[in-house]
């Protein structure tokens, strides 16, 4: 069996346990909605590769409907029990062992994949699954706790984050629709219409602005790059001005990172952490990153223009 599918199946199983724990939690006013939500997500994880896409699509809409109706949520104390109810047990620094095992195994598997000339990023994902299982085992041995307590702790963290967990995947789906509807081509043609073709500085500015704008909309600079490269960068800058394509290309991609830093459409980077850390301000991460994003964006424009103009 394919290793990544095994990890997806295992994640589905964990989600079903979370669904069961939600269902059994009689103090949770939204226990049915929450149980249904995590059960469906678990099913998509386990069977996403074999289900017809339209079935998965309907399941996704069902999850959105459950959340939209306000039926997904935990008890209001979610996420707090570890902070108030932890029992040090005199384990000292040994408590780091299970937690460090996850990145160590993730990293180790990626390196092994690289050495075997396989895809290292796929290795990292499979390693994340193996590392998580080993960490659970190590944690149980170390704390002499039970599987039930461990799953309840995982469930607590999961409920504290809630339906936000599915946003990255949902936004990726939106990206698929935007691509099919050619929203990017529309933005690129708007830029070509607005900018005079002989002004290098304005072209560089428009290229950077278009890349960043489209990244903000898509939440992903990888989706924006092909559109901007084919609509603006190559036909209007690289070819007419004889520019080093590698230099202009990679800098256009990293200009997009400024967009990723300021958009909540990049949910896995800017929204999931808000949930993971129980922040009060949903835009807290984006707000902190905004000045950095603006400064490095300006540097990109000046550097790219300067390198083309003077080098």
């Amino acid at each position: 069996m394919n290793g990544l599918e095994g990890v997806f199946g295992l994640t589905g199983l964990v989600l079903w346990v979370f669904a069961w724990l939600s269902f059994r939690d009689r103090d949770n006013p939204h226990r049915m909605g929450s149980a249904g939500f995590w059960f469906v997500l678990g099913a998509i994880f386990a069977f996403g590769s074999v289900l017809p896409h339209w079935v998965t699509g309907l399941l996704v809409l069902a999850m959105v409907a459950m959340d939209g109706a306000g039926q997904v949520g935990g008890r209001s104390l979610g996420g707090r029990s570890a902070e108030i109810g932890s029992k040090p047990l005199g384990l000292g620094y040994r408590i780091f062992v299970p937690v460090l095992m996850i990145p160590a195994v993730t990293f180790g598997t990626a390196v092994v994949f690289r050495l075997m000339k396989l895809d290292a990023n796929r290795g990292a994902l499979i390693g994340l699954g193996i590392g998580a299982v080993l960490a659970m085992a190590a944690g149980l041995v170390l704390t002499r706790s039970t599987i039930q307590v461990m799953m309840e702790e995982g469930h607590r963290l999961n409920e504290a984050m809630g339906a936000v967990n599915i946003l990255p995947q949902l936004l990726a789906s939106l990206g698929v629709v935007f691509t099919a509807a050619k929203v990017g081509d529309l933005i690129a043609s708007g830029i070509r219409y607005a900018v005079p073709e002989n002004s290098l500085f304005l072209l560089v500015l428009a290229n950077s602005a278009g890349m960043t704008l489209f990244t903000i909309v898509m939440g992903n600079s990888f989706a924006a790059f092909p559109v901007i490269a084919s609509g603006v960068l190559v036909p209007l800058i690289v070819k007419p001005f004889g520019v080093d394509a590698a230099m202009a290309g990679i800098m256009t991609l990293t200009t997009g990172a400024s967009g990723t830093l300021v958009t909540i459409m990049a949910a896995n980077f800017n929204v999931v952490p808000v949930a993971l850390l129980n922040m009060r301000d949903p835009f807290g991460v984006v707000r902190f990153q905004l000045p950095f994003a603006v400064v490095i964006w300006g540097c990109h424009v000046l550097l790219l223009w300067g390198l083309i103009r003077f080098v």
């Binding site: 959105v64 299982v133 789906s173 629709v177 830093l261």
Partner: protein
């Protein structure tokens, strides 16, 4: 329908977020509306992919984005048995440690991952279990407002290191994407020249991050002195 109506999805997102509607609902509505005005069918027919099919395909193909859920039981258990307290204790052993310095080191650590060709999401595996409790523990007393700022800075350190560090290896997907797209457009490049030109921006990101985290330290100290 005129071309520009396709932007309705963007309008729905902006309006929905401004009105603080439920994000999942807003995103799904934006997808359905964009598909509808672009003349895409709801379900696949006659060889044309439907919007519901696209939603399912995008969701299933991107399961790896949510794979971190599998780490929650182990992290939750460790938190129950004192992970956060131990992290705070550890950081207090380093006299020179401040939140800002910790985050500068963490950003460099993530840039290093990028150079080694490893791309991972550090928010669940590093920031929540380790970096956050260490940051909070580095200060003698933390107010709610300070804690909120520290949390935001923790996440930013992860994102800066991840985004700008990941182009420093020729096997990274961003580098391969630029290589593939430019070659396809008739401007062939080498992956090594892409890595070469990614270096100045990566260096700049480390410097700018260090400045911002240093300013955070000054601000936190200022608030403590009051």
């Amino acid at each position: 329908m005129p071309e520009w109506t396709k932007l309705i999805g963007v309008v729905i997102i902006v309006a929905g977020l401004a009105l603080k509607l439920r994000t999942t609902l807003v995103v799904a509505a934006a997808a359905l509306a964009t598909g509808l005005v672009s003349g895409l069918p709801l379900f696949s027919r006659a060889g044309q992919e439907g919007v519901v099919d696209m939603l399912g395909r995008g969701f299933a193909d991107n399961r790896l984005m949510t794979l971190f859920l599998i780490t929650l039981p182990a992290i939750g258990l460790a938190e129950r048995y004192g992970l956060q307290e131990q992290s705070a204790k550890l950081i207090l052993k380093f006299r020179a440690a401040t939140v800002g310095r910790l985050l500068i080191v963490y950003q460099l650590f993530r840039v290093l991952h990028g150079m080694m060709g490893i791309r991972l999401n550090g928010h669940p595996i590093f920031v929540r279990p380790l970096i956050f409790p260490m940051s909070a523990g580095a200060l003698p007393a933390v107010s709610a407002g300070e804690l909120e700022r520290i949390k935001a800075a923790n996440s930013a350190s992860e994102n800066y290191g991840n985004f700008y560090g990941q182009n420093l290896s020729p096997v990274q997907p961003g580098v391969l994407l630029v290589y593939g797209v430019l070659t396809g457009l008739g401007s062939p490049v080498s992956v090594w020249s892409l890595v070469f030109y990614a270096t100045p921006i990566a260096a700049l990101s480390v410097v700018l991050g260090a400045i911002q985290f240093h300013l955070l330290d000054r601000r936190l100290q200022g608030e403590d002195a009051k």
